[in-house]
Every structure is written in structure tokens, then in C-alpha cells.
């Protein structure tokens, strides 16, 4: 029994040792390709576009027992170089792996063509060091494909070795309609003239403007979605809280007033930070978008609660009395008499609140929600140009301007019907006056005129 066990354990041990050896090659004996990458160069996107300058990076690690005297990197067929293409080379000294240090003064000569890059090192790259080779102005063919970069190197013994292919190709897409249009646009004379002015260029560069539209539109949809989910959620919550604010029980009034005052008394920006940094500690798996619209909804609910409360309290006492005198209880009175009247009155203020909330979605950019502001920021940073923000402003206005119009239409309508609702005979009696009522003269208080409850 024990023999069997020992045998099994020995076998396992051997297997384990073997797998460890395979997983961790002891040390690099030869120049090892660590990565081959290219910088994203799609306008507003995350792809590498062919036929357009990018930066090709090759990184490798010199073997422990060799020096590298020459590196040859072969480019795939069809690659091109921009007129201002050049090489950036850096050797990184790896003596202390926690504190690698660059050496910019590596003595070398190089020859850069469409087919290859040949670098000869005067003193050789030292053992164990890292080398970073970057070709600026490098263009992949404008054909969608995966490209592998191959090469060779020569060590200090004069032996030539094949560079190991990097496991992952560079995925290139062959240009998009938008990219082609942008190239065409940037070559127009009027665009060049416009952009030659520093102010026009940074605020409304036509190429940057067009380039940012597709991503900003995506962001705009997210912003609209945030508020389209957040606001409807805020309405019932806000209504509930407005009821609590008017409750007969002091504890409910107290708690709801804390809620309303804390939320209205602190900046939304701060609430967003607390929610985004705090909530994940308690609730896991909530994505940024969900957290985002929930924070917006909670914030808005406090404002809506006050809007609703003001709306309900502006309904004349006579309406409550009339409903009560017909035997309707509090809940029925609220739902069938008060709220329907309140809704009409609060629509303009609610719309304003909607506009505010829509604009406030931009604050979520600070905590990494990918809405329009975030995309505008990214776009602006890529190009060190303000144009994407100006385009984003246009997208915000696309929502806010028509809604502002809606508000004024509603307000006009409300003013008009209010005027109409005061019966003609009431209009005459604006101040207290002594007049004949029926058979007798008596004083009619002005208040009765407003008592129609239609206000």
C-alpha cells in the first residue's frame, strides 16, 4: 500500500517539476521578442488603420550571455513610410528590475526602408537589457489583415539568429469610408486656410469635427439612455418622498426632509464620487452605467419631491374639501383630484429638471462612465484640440433646445387656460368691494375670487 503511494507521489513530483521547467524557461539565451504592437490611429476609434501613419513598436530582451550587434526587422509586403518617418531607439538597463533605466545614447547606425529596418550597434546591446525600437510614420497596407513582423539578429560572435515571431499579429483594418472622407476633407484648400488660423483650428477644426461626430453620437446615445432610465425612475421615488414630506407622522416627515435636504444641499458631483467609490464596496457586480443612472435618479428624486410637494400644496384647499365632502378618502383625493391637477402645473418645472439632469450626465465622465463628455475628452486629448467639445455642445443642445421650447409652449398654454378658467364674472372682483348681492349690500372678500380652485 505505502509503496504504491510513494510511487504515485514520486510520479506526481516528477510531472510537476517537468511542467515547471516548461512553464518557466530558466533564462533567455537569445534575443527574445517581447512584443510587436502599433499605436491606434483611427480617428475617434480604437483600431489600427492601414494606409495611415502609425507608430510601430518592437520590444525585445537581449539574452543573458550575448551582445547584440545588429538587428534586422522585415516589414510585410506593401508597407509604406511617411515622408517624415524616423526611428526612435532606446536601450533599457535592467540591472534593477524594479528600477529599469533608459540609455538614450546607444551608438548605432540604421537604414530604414519600406522593406526593412537594419540597425547596426557600434558597441552592441548589453546582455539582459531591454531594447525598444519604434518606427514613427509607419504605414501598414490599406488591406484588412493580420500582419506578422519577422527579423534576424547578429550576436557578438558574428552568428546570425532568427528573431522569434511574436505570438500575436498586428491586426490592421483597411481604412473606412469615414477615414477616406477625412483624408479628402483635410486636403481641401478652404480647410487648410481655415485651419491656418490658430483660433479657428483649435475651436472648430472641420476635420476634427467630422472625425468626432460618430463617437460623440455613440456617447450622446449613452447620455440620453442614462437620463431616459434615470428620470422615469426618479418620478415615482420623488412622488413617494413628497407624500412622506406631507405625512401626518413627524418621523416620516423628518426622515424624508433629511433625504431631500442632504441631496439638494450637496453637489451631485460629490454624490457621484461617493456612490462610485463607495457602492462597489457593498454591492458587487453593478456596472458603471447602472450605478450612473441610479445616482442620477436618486438625485433627481429629491428635486422632483419638492416640485411635486409645491405643486400639490399649490392646489387650493377647496379641492381637498370638495373631494372630502363627497366622501373621498385621502388616497382617492390624491390620485383622482389632486395629482391630475398637479401634473399639468409641474410639467414645465419637471421639464427644466429633466434638462438639468441631462446636462448633469456629463459629470459621470469623471468616474469613468462612457457618456458623451467622456468621449469628447478622449477625442480632445488625442488631438490636443477643443473642437470635439464644441461638437459635444451641439449634441447637448440637440436635446435641450427643443425641450426649452416645449417648456415655453407649456407655460403659455398654462397661462392661457388659467386666464380662461377664471369665470368672466369673477374677473371683475379683484379687490374687496361693497356691492349688491341678492337683495342686500354686503362686503365680499376678495379671497373668494381665488376660491374657484382653478388658479
Amino acid at each position: 500500500m505505502t509503496y504504491v503511494r510513494v510511487a504515485v507521489f514520486s510520479l506526481l513530483f516528477v510531472l510537476l517539476l517537468g511542467s515547471l521547467l516548461i512553464a518557466f524557461p530558466q533564462s533567455a539565451e537569445a534575443l527574445e521578442t517581447e512584443s510587436v504592437t502599433a499605436t491606434r490611429n483611427e480617428d475617434g476609434g480604437t483600431d489600427i488603420i492601414g494606409g495611415k501613419p502609425t507608430r510601430l513598436s518592437w520590444e525585445g530582451r537581449v539574452g543573458n550571455n550575448e551582445k547584440v550587434m545588429q538587428i534586422v526587422i522585415n516589414f510585410p509586403e506593401g508597407c509604406e513610410l511617411a515622408d517624415d518617418a524616423y526611428l526612435f531607439l532606446q536601450e533599457v538597463i535592467m540591472d534593477d528590475p524594479m528600477h529599469p533605466r533608459p540609455d538614450n545614447a546607444v551608438k548605432h547606425e540604421y537604414e530604414l526602408t519600406q522593406e526593412s529596418l537594419i540597425i547596426n550597434f557600434t558597441d552592441g546591446l548589453r546582455p539582459g537589457n531591454k531594447v525598444i525600437i519604434q518606427v514613427y510614420g509607419f504605414q501598414f497596407p490599406a488591406i484588412t489583415a493580420d500582419y506578422y513582423i519577422t527579423g534576424t539578429y547578429v550576436d557578438d560572435k558574428g552568428l546570425s539568429h532568427i528573431l522569434k515571431e511574436y505570438s500575436r499579429p498586428v491586426s490592421v483594418i483597411g481604412g473606412t469610408a469615414l477615414e477616406n472622407f477625412l483624408v479628402w476633407l483635410s486636403e481641401r484648400d478652404w480647410v487648410k486656410a481655415w485651419n491656418s488660423n490658430a483660433f479657428c483650428n483649435s475651436f472648430l477644426n472641420p476635420v476634427r469635427a467630422v472625425a468626432s461626430v460618430p463617437t460623440l453620437f455613440g456617447g450622446w446615445l449613452i447620455s440620453v439612455a442614462l437620463v431616459a432610465l434615470g428620470f422615469p425612475l426618479a418620478i415615482p421615488v420623488g412622488l413617494g418622498i413628497s407624500f412622506l414630506r406631507m405625512s401626518k407622522l413627524w418621523i416620516l416627515r423628518f426622515l424624508s426632509s433629511i433625504y431631500v435636504n442632504v441631496i439638494r444641499g450637496t453637489p451631485l458631483f460629490l454624490q457621484i464620487y461617493i456612490a462610485f467609490l463607495g457602492l462597489p464596496l457593498f454591492i458587487s457586480g453593478m456596472d458603471n452605467f447602472t450605478t450612473g443612472f441610479i445616482v442620477l435618479a436618486l438625485n433627481s428624486s429629491a428635486y422632483l419631491a419638492e416640485i411635486f410637494r409645491a405643486g400639490i400644496q399649490s392646489i387650493h384647499k377647496g379641492q381637498f374639501e370638495a373631494a372630502s365632502s363627497l366622501g373621498m378618502n385621502g388616497i382617492k383625493t390624491m390620485f383622482f383630484v389632486i395629482i391630475p391637477q398637479t401634473v399639468r402645473r409641474v410639467i414645465p418645472t419637471m421639464t427644466s429638471e429633466f434638462i438639468l439632469l441631462f446636462k448633469d450626465t456629463s459629470l459621470l465622465a469623471a468616474v469613468g462612465v462612457f457618456e458623451m463628455m467622456m468621449f469628447a475628452k478622449i477625442q480632445s486629448n488625442i488631438s490636443a484640440n477643443i473642437t470635439p467639445y464644441v461638437v459635444a455642445a451641439g449634441f447637448y443642445l440637440l436635446v435641450t433646445l427643443p425641450l426649452t421650447r416645449v417648456i415655453s409652449v407649456f407655460e403659455k398654454k398654462l397661462a392661457a387656460t388659467d386666464g380662461k378658467e377664471a369665470p368672466p364674472e369673477d374677473k371683475k372682483k379683484k379687490k374687496p368691494e361693497t356691492k349688491r348681492v341678492g337683495l342686500f349690500k354686503t362686503t365680499v372678500p376678495a379671497a373668494v375670487n381665488q376660491d374657484t380652485g382653478n388658479g
Binding site: 512584443s35 499605436t39 528600477h99 533605466r101 533608459p102 525598444i132 490658430a198 483660433f199 467609490l277 469623471a366
Partner: protein, 261 residues
């Protein structure tokens, strides 16, 4: 139609006049205010530059002060602003003379600003929670990671790691809080700043890997501001030669070799 044309014409004239005015006031001048070097920073990079109360302190601050003393300038610090807007503001030309914010010299940034000579060697760090199973940057492929918006850390992760979801933050400290909260699996930022944070405020985190990127920090000035660029470079050379630079360096990084000598 003629009304519309008139409107367009008037607008065009206004825009041109305004742009001339804006460009005119910033063109070619060495300093925005005579004798004063206006410095912009994010002030979020201990121990390089960080706010102590409302005063920026740190290695870069000391170095900048030494340069200002050497050149006989006053220093004026702008209120801290987000890193990703720093170079845009500098390039705008109306507010800032020099950006001091642990700025890595890159070819891309050099298209919009000019860099003085480097004064610090840096790398990227992949920072994870202490209990994290990830031991190198590549392990984070396909995961949700973060970086400060507009930094070299963000660019490195986007270029080298496949399938990541990148969450950009305004400040590194926000990223660290998000990492602690489990919102992201790793944060990519400058290694020396990571070392400082982990040694002081975030002992529960660890550096999974230092990524040798060979990057170096440099002060940035407006593109084409050759006068200031040369003055600063000459001053840096003097400070290196007379040992002031090394003194400041050792004050903050006693265990490191000075980056330039």
C-alpha cells in the same frame, strides 16, 4: 437670404477679429508675465509634485524653484488642473509658461509642446490589490483596468494588452480608490509614484510588474518658445554640474542613482 449672408459675414468678421486678438496676445513672448514663470500642474504625483495644503511640494517643485532662483524668476503656480487638459492649456498659450507634472517626454506630445531635457527616469507599474492573483501585466488581458486619462500608462495598456476595458480617471488617487473598491483589477501608472503610494497610503496593494518603458520626465514649454527652452536647459545643466540637482534628487530618492549626471 441676404439677411443670412449678412449674418454669416458679420460672424466671420467677429470670429477672425477675436482669433487675431487671442493669437496676438500670446505670440512669441518668452513669458506671459515679465519676470514670472507661470507653472501649471496636476499636483497629483507624490513625491514629485503634490499639494500640501494649497502649496505644491515635492521633487519637481524643489527643482523648479532651484531653476527659478538660478534664472532670477518668480514662480507662480496655477490652480491644479486635470492632467489631460494640461498640455492643451499650455499649447493655448494664454495662461501657462511651463508644465511641471511628471510629464513623460513622448514624440506625440512633442507635436503640440516642446520638452526641456529630461530630469528623471521612469517606468510604468501595473498595480494590483494585495490579494490579487495577477503577477504580470499580461495577466490583465480581457480584464477591467484603469489609468489616469491622457497618461502614458493608459496608452501603454491600450497598445499592449488585448481585450481590456480601460477606465480612465481624472486623478491617480481616484483610480487607486476604484482599485481598492474592486471596480478595476489593476491600475497602470508611473512606477516611482506607485512606489510612493504603496509605501505610504496603500500598503494593501502591490506592484505586479514594473514595465520597462524607458520613459523620462521633462518640463514642457509652449511650442516654439525657444528662448525659455534654452534658458531652462542651460539652468538644468548648471544645477547638475554644481551638485544642486543631486542634492534635491537624494532628498526624495535616497536609494536611487540620480537620473542625469
Amino acid at each position: 437670404m441676404s439677411k443670412f449672408k449678412k449674418l454669416v459675414a458679420v460672424t466671420a468678421v467677429l470670429v477672425l477679429a477675436l482669433s487675431m486678438a487671442l493669437v496676438g496676445c500670446s505670440g512669441g513672448k518668452k513669458l506671459i508675465k515679465d519676470g514670472v514663470l507661470v507653472v501649471g500642474s496636476d499636483c497629483d504625483y507624490p513625491p514629485f509634485i503634490i499639494l500640501d495644503g494649497d502649496k505644491p511640494v515635492g521633487f519637481e517643485m524643489d527643482l523648479m524653484q532651484a531653476i527659478a532662483d538660478d534664472l532670477g524668476y518668480e514662480l507662480e503656480y496655477l490652480p491644479p488642473q486635470n492632467f489631460d487638459t494640461l498640455l492643451t492649456t499650455l499649447a493655448g498659450g494664454a495662461k501657462m509658461d511651463i508644465a511641471v507634472s511628471s510629464l513623460t517626454i513622448t514624440e506625440d506630445r512633442a507635436k503640440s509642446v516642446d520638452f526641456c531635457k529630461p530630469y528623471f527616469d521612469s517606468n510604468q507599474a501595473c498595480v494590483v490589490r494585495g490579494d490579487s492573483p495577477y503577477t504580470k501585466a499580461k495577466d490583465l488581458e480581457g480584464k477591467v483596468v484603469g489609468a489616469q486619462s491622457g497618461t502614458t500608462g493608459e496608452a501603454w495598456a491600450n497598445e499592449h494588452l488585448e481585450g481590456i476595458t480601460m477606465k480612465p480617471f481624472n486623478q491617480t488617487s481616484e483610480g487607486l480608490m476604484a482599485l481598492q473598491a474592486g471596480e478595476i483589477e489593476a491600475l497602470f501608472f508611473d512606477a516611482p509614484i506607485a512606489e510612493y503610494h504603496l509605501a505610504t497610503n496603500y500598503p494593501t496593494m502591490k506592484i505586479a510588474e514594473v514595465i520597462p518603458t524607458g520613459e523620462q520626465y521633462g518640463f514642457a514649454v509652449r511650442k516654439g518658445n525657444k528662448d525659455l527652452l534654452e534658458e531652462i536647459n542651460a539652468s538644468l545643466d548648471r544645477l547638475i554640474a554644481d551638485g544642486t540637482y543631486e542634492k534635491i534628487f537624494k532628498k526624495y530618492f535616497p536609494n536611487l542613482e540620480p537620473s542625469v549626471n
